[in-house]
């Protein structure tokens, strides 16, 4: 039986990963935090993509990494959830 991963759970994991690995201590990351405004660069996006790969065994296609999909943890999670559900 396939395990269903909730979008909220993915979003929570993404927030935890970004908070622990990419932003300075004391900087809060919520589902709606703008990743652009946090100053995340190309390398940070790769770190997140590799985290998703490790966590869910999912390689995101090029088209998934649009500006809109990586705007916030929530948007990123929706994109990941979409590809996991395919």
């Amino acid at each position: 039986m396939a395990v269903v991963i909730e979008q909220d759970v993915i979003c929570q994991k993404l927030c935890e990963f970004i908070q622990a690995n990419l932003v300075a201590p004391g900087i809060g990351v919520s589902p709606t935090t703008s990743l652009t405004q946090l100053g995340l660069d190309s390398f940070s996006i790769i770190e997140i993509v590799l985290f998703i790969e490790r966590q869910y065994g999912l390689t995101l296609p090029d088209v998934a990494l649009s500006k809109e999909n990586i705007e916030s943890p929530q948007a990123f999670a929706a994109c990941v959830h979409h590809y996991i559900s395919l």
Partner: protein, 428 residues
């Protein structure tokens, strides 16, 4: 003296690499590893008020009092406060008829010798047009370009809550550090000898010349759109690098041979995001790109290859391992360090130096009550490889600054480089 500012500050691994570059630049070029950040203003700020502001900044006074002490072999090199009464930070004022943006020759020829001179300097240029430029020069051993931006912006707007120093790192067990160093060595050598494709392999004692490639705001948006078209899934930087390497290949005197590679180390800012800092100390590790002529056949192929190498290195943890290796070897005597660092490329280091400072200057619009009309990073004079490209975005306008020597890219090469680069980036 501010109690938070120490009397001594050991160099981190990335600083020590810049010390190595300082020696390399002195051996192959006209001066050491001196960078400049020029802030162009709509009017001349009051020079004495600006001088007072500079001398009233505890961090700047502390930086001005530092001298480099390399110590004994195997001892950690460090910045140390110069003994004696405090010396005021001078602000040189130049009155000039040069066209706004050009800087007086005396600024370019001022060296900053870290052992005997202050590692920071300020110059103010007053143009006959009424405009002005504040030029911050610093020895790169002290900080990177992002740190310099933060420092200068803090001087202009003192309310900025900048973090000065990086938190101390917990040392790794020696065996673990050695494993990381081994991984880097295996990656760099990769079973093949690196023979960089170069414009020049001859040391030259010339100062840098600069060629500045400006994109309008509309063109900058066009570049962004073109990057999306080329499926730059990890942002604009891979496209900027791809276009730079293709333009560089275009101006080589002879096509790169089958065994030659376009070998480029790329700095990766290791700062945690969300805060302004750290200001002091170089906070970068590196990725290394190795491309051959067929990879540069068209822009899409070049972007795909660069993106693939980028992901592969991030997945393998190369920047992290290189950082750990730099921390490990910073006690090594410079002669041995230099030999080990230069040996993979037989002393050439790279085909060219490249960096992209991103969008950190898009919101830089005022400095000490003056409107900022522009801001430009100028790279150090590098005799070898003799060609440096820095991309930056200032007030939403993209720009590339090319630092080169006449020996590497004289005659019409900078103009040819620009034409090729613009065509690629604008998708023409």
């Amino acid at each position: 003296m501010n109690a938070q500012l120490p009397q001594r500050l050991p160099l981190n691994g990335s600083d020590y690499f810049q010390l190595f570059l300082d020696r390399h630049h002195r051996a192959t070029g006209p001066m050491g590893n001196v960078s400049r950040f020029a802030v162009y203003l709509d009017k001349l700020p009051d020079p004495s008020a600006l001088e007072s502001r500079i001398n009233g900044d505890p961090l700047l006074c502390w930086l001005h009092s530092l001298r480099l002490n390399t110590g004994w072999p195997f001892q950690l090199p460090r910045w140390q406060q110069k003994q004696g009464p405090p010396v005021a930070i001078p602000l040189r004022l130049f009155l000039t008829d040069l066209s706004p943006r050009e800087l007086p020759e005396a600024i370019w020829s001022t060296d900053l010798r870290a052992k005997s001179e202050a590692p920071v300097r300020f110059d103010l240029v007053s143009y006959s047009s009424g405009q002005a430029a504040l030029v911050f020069s610093w020895n790169h051993i002290l900080m990177d370009a992002r740190g310099a931006e933060l420092l200068v912006r803090q001087l202009g707007s003192p309310n900025t809550d900048a973090q000065y120093f990086a938190p101390p790192e917990l040392p790794l067990p020696l065996m673990e550090s050695l494993q990381h160093a081994r991984k880097v060595k295996d990656f760099l050598l990769d079973g093949t000898r690196i023979k960089p494709a170069l414009l020049t392999g001859r040391p030259t004692r010339e100062y840098n010349r600069f060629h500045i490639i400006d994109f309008t705001e509309t063109e900058s948006r066009q570049v962004e759109a073109n990057c999306k078209k080329h499926l730059a899934r990890f942002g604009k930087s891979p496209v900027l690098l791809a276009a730079t390497l293709r333009a560089y290949q275009h101006i080589l005197d002879e096509p790169a041979s089958a065994e030659q590679q376009f070998w480029v180390p790329i700095p990766q800012d290791q700062r945690r995001k969300g805060v302004a800092g750290p200001v002091i100390g170089n906070q970068v590790s590196y990725l290394f790109y190795r491309l051959r002529a067929p990879h540069l056949a068209d822009l899409q192929t070049a972007v795909d290859e660069i993106s693939a190498q980028m992901v592969s290195q991030m997945r393998a943890g190369i920047p992290k391992s290189y950082h750990i290796m730099m921390e490990l070897v910073r006690r090594m005597p410079m002669g041995l360090y230099s030999h080990l660092t230069k040996s993979p490329t037989q002393g050439m280091l790279a085909s060219l130096f490249f960096s992209d400072t991103g969008h950190s200057l898009d919101d830089f619009t005022d400095f000490a009550g003056c409107a900022v009309t522009d801001a430009i990073h100028y790279p150090p004079s590098a005799g070898i490889p003799g060609f440096t490209t820095i991309f930056m975005s200032v007030q939403n306008r993209l720009r590339a600054v090319i630092g080169y020597t006449a020996d590497s890219a004289g005659a019409d090469k900078p103009a040819r480089f620009e034409r090729f680069l613009r065509n690629d980036l604008l998708g023409l």
